[in-house]
Structures are given as C-alpha cells and as structure tokens.
Symmetry: C2
C-alpha cells in the first residue's frame, strides 16, 4: 500500500484504508481506547486504537511514547460531530488502527516538540535536530525554501544565469576580516573564504554573461552581534548595460514577486526613495523604519537666534538642533522616564536631551522659560505641537544628533507600540557618500567597496574633496533593516586606479592585490552594476522573526561555535604539520 501523509487526510478519504508513517505527537488513554496524534511533515492526524477492533494493536499502543516512530495501517473514519476539532486541518476525521509497527523508539526529549514555550537558546542549539522538529522552525525553513525558489523563479524568468564562484579565494586586506584556509600543496600560503563574490561577479560581466545571480554563502570573521553570523547567505546579482534606475526597478519587481509568492501580499511599486542625506535628516538612520512616524525635524532655522543659548550656540558652531514630537504621549512621560531617555541618548554621544511638553497652546518644562512667545509659536508650528505632545530635542554635531535621535525614534516606536507589524515597508536609500573617514587610521575608506562608481565626472575631486563625493550606490531597506546594497561599478581601468589611489593604495599594492581586475578592465569591460541582498535577513523579516538564528538550520553562537557538533574543535597535530603550521594558542594561554 502507498503511504498517505497524515496532514492530507480529509472527509473525502472516509472508509479508505491508509498506511501512515510518522511520529507520536501525543498519546491519550480514554475509556479503554488509546488515541495517538500521529505527525509527519504534512501535519497531524488522530489515530484510534480500540480493543474491540484490534486488541493486538492496542497492546503495542500501550508501549508508545512521545516521538516514537511508527507505521500505522488503518481505516479513515468520520468523527462524531461532538468530537470534531476545528483547530486541526484533519479535525473532522480519525484513523481506526488495524495494525501498528514500532519503527524506532525515542527517549524522553530535552525539547518538547509541541510545546512552544521559550527554551534557552543553548538547549535549542545543542539539540538543534529536535528544535527543528518544532512547528515554528519547520514553518520558517519551509518559508526559507519557498523564498529561495521565488527569487530563482523571478530571476530565471528574466534571463539571469545562476553561476557559481569559488569558496577558496584570495585574501584581500580591504573590508572585514577574512577567514583563512591554509594550503597544504602551497606551503605558507592561504586561501580566504569570500566575504562576497564581488570581483568574480564583475568578471562574469567582463565575460559577457550580462545577467548573473547566485544564492551563495559568504563569510566574515567579525565579532558577532545578535544579527550577524560568521557565514551568511547572500542573493548576489550583477548586470551589464543597465542603468541604476533599471537595476533598482528589477530589484523592486523581484522583491514584489517574492512577497507575493511567499506571503500572498501586494507590495506597491515603485518603493519610496530617500537620499542618504534625507534619511539621516528625517530619521537619523541610513535604514529608516517607515512603519511609524516620529520623524526628526531640523530646528536649526528656528533656533539660530534662540533665546536658549544652548540651542543657539549649537547652530552657530556648525552643529544642529533636531527634535522629535512624541505626539499625544506627554502625560505618559514623567521626569524620571525622561531621565531614562536622556541616559539612552548619551550612549550615542548626545550631551543632553532637552524636552518640553505642550499644554494647550503653551510649552512647559524646565527650558520653556527661555522662549519668548514668538519663538514658542515657531516651535509649535515647526513641530505641529498640540496639547499633550512631548517634544524632545538634541543639539549637537550633526552625526551625534542623527545617531541619538535616530536610536531614540526606534526605541520610542517600539515602546509606544507605533509599529504595524503586518506591513512590509520597502524603501531605497540613494546617493551614498563614496568614502567614509576612519578616525582610527586617519584615512578614507570605501563606504561601499573600492569598485563603486563615483557620481563625480571630475576624478580629481576624489583627492581634493573626498568627503563630499557621492557614490552611484543604493541600499534597499525593509522595516528598518538594511536588506541589501548595490552600486554601479567602475568599468574603466584609469578610474579604478584613481580610486585605489584615493584609498591610499600605492601603485604596487593596487597591482599586487587587484592587478587581475585592473587588467580585465582593459579588455572591453561593459558598464555594469548589481546588488546583494541578505537572504537570511529577508527570510527573517518575511517569517516575522527578530533573530537571524531562527532562520538558519544550523547557526553559530555569538562565539562562532556550533553547540551541536562542537565546532570549531582541536585537530590532530599531524593535520597542522601537513599544513606547515604551528599553534601558538597555548603560549598565549600561559602568558595570559
């Protein structure tokens, strides 16, 4: 007899013989009968063991425990109206058991499969194979599968070729820290695991493939935060001959079709767009969550001649003053509450958090006395201040204002339940700075990567005024997460050389590390550009999760360990010798 899947049995199967294979989800003994909820990937069905129908099967059933693997043959029956379970897809039927075989037993589980209570993450990761039996994890990984296929479906239909790039690649000093792989055949030499297939995908364009994609693993040996993993999956895309506009459109269409295919929801195109400068000004963030308001308002104009010196001086000294109007919540914030907010913004460098409340048409609070009627009026007008609004101000250097009020906005949005969790708010952030200044080593770094096309036609500006050069780069943001980033790439050798120079590479260094790319740009490289999306993060948001680890089958902990297999681990000395390596970890231990 062919196997029937538990979750697929319906009233139309009544009176049919079925053969089921699966796990004992639950056993109940009731009035001489035994009920076993049998589970397979498709779902759960109730089976009934009756002494009158089959005494032998009942005796086996008495020995069944949770998570035993069994094969059951039986007949589908319609349940009595009184026992129909409307919460189960198979709730109108049950299977009267003719025979049962125990295929494998199970010890008592350290993780209950049908219990959705929060378990410690350590237990979940140690017994990941059991954690993955739980419905939320099954659902998430199935959604992950469907998301990958939806992406492929769109890209395949649009003439993209899925092509593979090496995992054993060359280490380059730019970007994050590489994972290294010692070579046995080439003593003293190392491969690096790729941080992204960036250069290879550009070379595919030089090869004339025009439209490439790959859903691929990337690696960064960085200190981990909650939303980072040492290995992560990236949807990597590159195209030739397309404008920035066309690449953004293609990306939007792809994401629209993915959300439709996976969630059944409609996303409106085009996505809203903000320049980087606008995003920082209005949201204090380069990845704003637009599912709620609380926008930052630049008050520098209002306060340039303010009676409140702190504000006036901030503006005069090249800083700015911005504010958030926490609309209608003034009565919910005590002085002590506001002290906590002040503490919160101080982490982001803000020297203080000024505040006022609106009472009728007046401002109240410790600093209200500094504002004459006219200025009070301007403040209320600029912030659309109404009674019971709480107004929060930071006066500082522009980046401190953005960082502190941006973080405060996010915090308040969550605290005050202003976020509509059902929304998928996509957004583009464009016109990024090409460089960012690194205070630590006193030089400019590529904000995106060194292959990003500058917006300037005047390449001398790269040297003379780097901080004001914008890039042909664009990030796609979803619900406050950076979902992905892309850019047009430099496709002429001389421009790429000038770029390396601006980043402080000597000619020799540029040639040593990227000589093959520079050479490739001399052989008819087409204009090209692309985007890379964080696949784990996309799945996380689509699944309504907040932790990347819940979207990855076998993730690593914050110390980059796999608690299940105990990786990384010590290896045999001869393995190191074959690689011409010696561990100095023990010396460190002794001295440390």
């Amino acid at each position: 007899m062919e196997r029937t899947h538990c979750g697929h049995i319906r009233t139309e199967h009544v009176d049919q013989k079925v053969k089921l294979k699966g796990w004992v989800q639950k056993r109940r003994d009731l009035g001489g009968l035994i009920f076993i909820d049998l589970r397979d990937r498709s779902g759960i069905v109730q089976t009934v063991f009756s002494p009158e129908h089959n005494e032998e099967a009942l005796q086996v059933a008495e020995k069944l425990r949770s998570e035993y693997v069994v094969e059951i043959e039986g007949t589908v029956l319609k349940r009595d109206t009184s026992t129909i379970n409307e919460n189960m897809a198979t709730g109108e039927v049950e299977v009267l058991v003719d025979g049962v075989t125990v295929v494998n037993e199970s010890k008592a589980l350290p993780i209950k499969v049908d219990d959705h209570k929060d378990l410690t993450e350590e237990t979940r990761l140690k017994y990941r194979y059991l954690d993955l039996r739980r419905e939320p994890m099954q659902e998430t990984l199935i959604l992950r599968h469907r998301t990958a296929q939806a992406i492929r479906h769109y890209l395949n239909s649009n003439d993209f070729l899925e092509m593979e790039t090496p995992i054993l690649t060359k280490s380059t000093p730019e970007g994050a820290r590489d994972y290294l792989v010692p070579s046995r055949v080439n003593p003293g030499q190392f491969y690096a695991l790729p941080q992204s297939p960036q250069i290879f995908k550009q070379l595919f364009m030089v090869s004339g493939f025009e439209k490439y994609y790959q859903i691929t693993r990337c690696f960064r040996d960085e200190d981990l935060r909650a939303d980072r993993q040492p290995e992560f999956t990236q949807v990597d895309i590159e195209t030739s001959f397309l404008s920035q506009e066309e690449i953004m459109q293609m990306t939007e269409e792809m994401l629209q079709s993915v959300v439709k295919e996976v969630k059944g929801l409609d996303v409106t195109l085009p996505f809203p767009r903000l320049t980087y400068d606008e995003a920082m000004e209005r949201y204090g963030s380069d990845k704003p969550d637009t599912r709620f308001g609380l926008e930052l308002v630049n008050m520098s104009g209002v306060f340039q001649n303010s009676g409140f010196k702190v504000f006036k001086q901030a503006v005069e000294s090249g800083g700015k003053v911005s504010a958030i109007n926490v609309k209608g919540f003034a009565d919910q914030y005590s002085r002590k509450d506001i002290d906590h907010l002040t503490e919160f913004v101080s982490v982001y460098g803000a020297k203080g958090l000024a505040w006022m409340k609106v009472d009728g048409e007046s401002l109240t609070g410790p600093i209200a006395k500094f504002f004459e009627e006219e200025e009070e009026h301007s403040i209320l007008e600029a912030l659309n201040g109404e009674s019971n609004d709480l107004l929060l101000f930071v006066a500082d250097k522009p980046d401190v204002v953005a960082a502190s009020l941006g973080a405060l906005r996010s915090k308040l949005g969550k605290e005050l339940n202003l976020i509509d969790e059902s929304q998928f708010n996509f957004l583009w952030v464009t016109d990024w700075p090409l460089f960012e200044y690194d205070e630590d080593d006193g030089r400019y770094h590529a904000a995106h990567h060194p292959f990003t096309m500058p917006q300037t036609g005047d390449m001398n500006q790269l040297h003379e005024d780097p901080s004001n050069v914008k890039a042909k780069a664009y990030d796609v943001v979803l619900n406050g997460y950076e979902l992905g980033g892309g850019s047009l790439r430099i496709y002429k050798k001389d421009m790429q050389e000038k770029m390396f120079e601006a980043l402080g590479f000597s000619k020799e260094e540029a040639h040593d590390q990227f000589g093959f790319l520079l050479e490739a740009l001399e052989f008819g490289a087409p204009p090209h550009g692309g985007i890379a999306l964080g696949f784990d993060r996309l799945v996380m948001i689509l699944a309504g999760k907040t932790n990347l680890r819940d979207t990855i089958a076998f993730p690593k902990t914050a110390s980059a360990s796999d608690l299940l297999t105990q990786a990384p681990s010590q290896v045999d000395q001869h393995q190191l010798e074959e690689l011409y390596l010696q561990s100095i970890a023990k010396y460190e231990d002794n001295e440390g």
Copy 2:
C-alpha cells in the same frame, strides 16, 4: 529606446529602429563600407556603416577594434539574397547604423574570442574572464545553469525542501583530508570545510523534514587528478521512510527529466542494474561504460583442467582467468601492438597478457599449441570466437584480473572507436561491499561512509566476517563515470555503535567525534537514506566535455591554485597572529 538583443533580430524586425549594446566581434572594410559583427550574450548580428547613410558613424567605426564595447542605433534591413548567411541565426538581416558610441575600448586580447583553436590551459585560466567569453564556455555555463534549474524543478515538484547546511563545520578523521579553517575567537581550534553535508542531512531527517536537497559546495584536500577539484558541487539528497527501490526510482526519474529538459533526449527507465560483483566480473570496473561491448568473460571453468599450466595454476591457487574478445580486429594488432597492451596491463599489476587470434575455426598465436581440440572448442564457444577475433587473457588474482582487463577494455573501446558518443548510458551498481580493507593501516574502512546500513541483520557478522558484508548502497553510473552514490543509513544507535566498533573506533573516540549523531538516533530517528550526485561531472557529460575544469567558471589547477587571482597567497603576519598560528613553511624550505 529599449535595447534590442543582437541575436534576436529577424526579418520580422525589418525597417524597425533598434538600439544595440555589445562587443565588436569582427570588423571588415569592404568597398567603402564597414561591417561590424556585434555580439552580446544572445548572439551576433551584422551592422553596416555606410558613408552615404552616416559619415560620422563611419568615422567612429574606423577606430573600432575587436572587443570594443559599443552602443549602436540603426535600422534593421533585409539582406540581399546573395549575402544571406545561413550559418547565422540573424543571417537574413543586418542593421544599417545611424549612430555609434564607444562605451569602452579593448586592448588586443591574449585569447581570441572567435577562435576555437586549443589554447594552453595556463593562458585560459589566467585570463579566465576572456576564456569565458568564448562560445563553448558560454554554452557550457548556460547548460550548467539549466541543469541546476532542471534538478530543482524536479525536486521542488516532488516536495523536496532545499535547505542549507554549514560550511564551517567540524573536522572528522574519517574520509578524505579536510580543509581546515583556524578560529580566531576560539584559539587553537579549527573548523573544517565539509566533504559533504552527510551528517547534517541525516539530522534533517531526524528533524522530520523527510525530503531534503541542496546543490552545494564540498571540499576535499586531496592530491588532484584531472577529474578532481579541491571544491566541487554536489546535488545532495536525503529522504525518510523510502525504500532503496523508491530512492533509486526517484533518482532515475530526476535524471530522466534533467536529460529531457537540458538535452531534449529520452532516457529509458528503469536504468539497467548490476550488482557490484557482476560489474567487476563482466566489466572489471565498478563504473562500467556500457556504450560498447568487449565484456570480460570468466574463463576459469574452461581452464580449470587446462593443458596450459599458467591458466590452470592461476585457477587452482584461488585466482581466475578472464578474457576479452576483441571482435574482428585480429588483423589490426601486430605482435608489437600486443606488446604495448601487455605493458599497459602491467601497470595494473597483471604479470602478463596472454593472447590468441582466431583463424577460421582455429586458434593461433604463441600459446595456441597448449590447447587440445576439445579445449580449443570450449574457448571458442565461451568467447563466441570467430575468424579475425583477437582474444586477450589475464590470469591472476581476481582484483588484478578485474583492474587490468577493465582498464584494457576502456582503452580498446576508445582506441577502436566503439563508443557511441551520443548515448547516455545510465546504470545502477548495487550490493556494494560495506568495508574495504586498507593494507596500509591494516584495518577495515567504510567503503561508502560509516553511516551506511549493512545488508546483514546479524550485526556480529560485522566483526566476524567483515569482508563479506554487503551494504545497502547503490551507485549511479553514466557512460563510465561514477555520477553519484547513495545508501540507506543506520538509524538505530546500537547498530551505529557496532559499526564504529567494527571500524576500530574505541567507545570514547566514537563518542568524541560522533556523539551528537549517536544521541540523535535515540530520539525517534526515522529510517532514511539518500544519494549525492557529482554536479560538475553531470554537467561535463551533458555538455560532451571530458575535463571538469571546462564546466566550472573559476576552477583550480592541479596544484590547487587559481591562476587568475593568484590564490592561495601569502598573508600578513598579523593575520596569522590573530589566529594564534605560526607558519613553519620557511623552516621546511630551509631544510628541504
């Protein structure tokens, strides 16, 4: 104006304005006109620059060289009947150029794109991005893309979930040599790159996912041969509750649908099946190419009382005699030719290659005199000997007979042009030995891997008579290549423990290395099994190639190097220090 793809232009587009973007494939100057063959991924179209139509464009065209990237606007014309090129898809049309822009220039290429002559592999790999511009490489990588999608299409339609497993995993001593990745966060510890996702896919089964697949990268740090790469791509499949028969059927259907989708060819199901013992007996190979005959015939019965002592003694001492009838080619093999064949088989350990020719109904050759008429008759009958047949014999230990005649069969099949290259001969080899004896370290190893289910129900046999235990394992063979292998897996803890014991693991070693798997088998592990297919090899055969490197975009050389990016390479000392490592490669150099 929207871009039109060069290769798509047909007579139906005549009189339409088009905008083309692509590469100059070829330029010809003829009677005051300039003809540029313009190429993009879709193909090639001829464009015409005429002084009467547009003098300015013609002047630009004069500067165009091969592989310049250009944008062209023009009008589609029907060619004169006399100039139609039937070898081009666009051969009935040409584009009269209104305007042309040089987008990027190109130096003269070290690899000609339209020249299919064999280049040195070194040049091809160093300039891989140019090698990939060549039509054969474009076609192969497009076929690779289509093969991957065809596999996914079949598996997705059959309820398989594509799920990812880690690349940073745990090193285990079984199997091939691991690539190691030093951990920075965990000093003195190492990850290993996976040789296959074997254990993770089994854990997915323990998790209840029932049907898993992944097209994933695997790694082996072995000394490379022509058909090996340090990283390779595997189609990895695992199922629960299916019998060996069902898994084989599913695999056959998948391969049938892939060949249909990619090549448009019909493959007959079921695939022929041979046991391992039959394959060795009849083809001297565990991956026989059945596109030609030249089967090995076991002559031990015929020769057990032979007048030729060499044969008789071989049989008596536990060896065997087998023969190949090279039908109808006796007159093409001189003594010297046969001496070469003797040399050839000696590499495989054969002490000699006996031979006779059939002349009429008699045997000729140096050993013919040892056979009386009756024995001569038996030989001719057993080998279906007819005039002008060449009969080749090896008498030796069974494994030497198989290895030497198996290799000889392959060599003769190629040499004599007996192989129909258009055929796709799939084949199953089943009933593999569970163990193989390793003479070097004097113990048994798992022939497949330590998780393979033995055919014996009597687990004591694992210890008492390991060499005769067969495995529930099956290989799929295509045209003489091992395309993939699979097995049912052990799903009970006690059996897995006995297996480790038979492989010489102490209890402690088994627990240290595979404790998590043993534990997982105690929590309701379902019966499961699967298969893994070599994706690069499948693509190679489908593309009609004989070198794996021709199917991989950026392959490594035989010394595991990437000639393009120069990986592996030396890294900064501080990178090693962060990993608590010291290279001793230099000391080795000094001493070596």
